[in-house]
């Protein structure tokens, strides 16, 4: 009897084994790191991206010169008031093209500043070339608003062509989602 009571008094250590949780955690971490590597172009929330039924994956954003093309503020505001508010806070009135400088600060250009936009693209191209990016890999990444008039997009393409960039990438979202 004495023996039995001694056994029941034995301490049972309750330990939680965190190793499967850590394994899962690492797997998730790796998944998100791999996915995050694709997001290398800065995204302006004021742009309502167009949708395309046939588009390919953006595998490498290296060499992309991002130019945002905005819709008219009234159209932007009617679809997304938050986007208009952000746009008004970030850019001066009349801005139709937006880019980001090396510090990720937004710069806006109006329709009369095509030459300034050309200079910006040229400067970016030269900077990328000096970093060893092949000229054929340098592309204009056009993030045009779905409701932006075509002359704004074509203006940005003309600026890129004048700056020596002839490869154009149209940024889109998948239509079937």
């Amino acid at each position: 009897m004495a023996k039995k009571s001694a056994r029941s008094e034995e301490e049972v250590k309750a330990e939680s084994d965190p190793s499967p949780m850590i394994d899962c955690c690492f797997l998730l971490l790796m998944f998100f790191i791999v996915n995050a590597a694709q997001i290398t172009v800065s995204k302006d929330p004021s742009v309502n991206m167009p949708n395309a039924v046939s588009a390919s994956e953006m595998k490498d954003a290296n060499g992309c010169i991002v130019v945002n093309v905005f819709a008219d503020p009234d159209v932007m505001g009617s679809k997304n008031p938050a986007a208009l508010e952000k746009f008004n806070k970030t850019y001066a009135p009349g801005t139709i093209w937006g880019v980001a400088d090396s510090n990720q600060d937004s710069i806006g250009y109006n329709s009369g500043q095509l030459q300034e936009l050309t200079d910006y693209i040229k400067q970016q191209r030269e900077s990328m070339e000096s970093k060893g990016i092949k000229p054929e890999m340098i592309r204009l990444y056009l993030r045009g608003d779905a409701d932006a008039p075509w002359d704004r997009s074509s203006g940005a393409i003309r600026a890129a062509a004048a700056a020596g960039v002839s490869n154009i990438v149209f940024g889109t979202l998948p239509a079937e989602n």
Binding site: C25, S54, R139, R143, D151, G171, A175
Partner: protein, 164 residues
Amino acid sequence: MARHKKIEPPAEEEITSNISSMIDCCFLLLIYFLAATSLVSEKKLDISIPPPAQGSSSKKPKVDPGNIYVTKAGVVTWNEGLTVGEAYNPELKPGTPEYLQQRRMESLVESLKMLKEQADAVDTTPVVMLHGAAGAPHQRIVDVMAALSEADIHSVGLSTTADE
């Protein structure tokens, strides 16, 4: 007496590594990447602007170039005759069947595929010119680009025409 005193070995200490700080870091990184990752990633449509013609411009191309016109309202026509896309309706909600119907321009894709086959037959690159009205919606231009991409045509000349 001191000589006979037994030296007791030090009490056994369990050697454990404290991994809690590593787990903390791991969780922080996980939260960062979770927040930074957008699962609906942007896609792309590549085109390249053909270089300006060099030498004699009177040289006739092996295959007649295709012309796509997009009006201010978003109506898309192929070679000035065939209407391949109706006017753009900005009120349609993405994801609805009507929206997808408007995005797809099957007759344009067919025409472009025929042009590509003709060009391939004579071992040349198909030439397509896209004439967009100044006020044409960007979405309609992207629809045309998607059709070009589906037909495997990536060299496109672009021009802007006055709004009618």
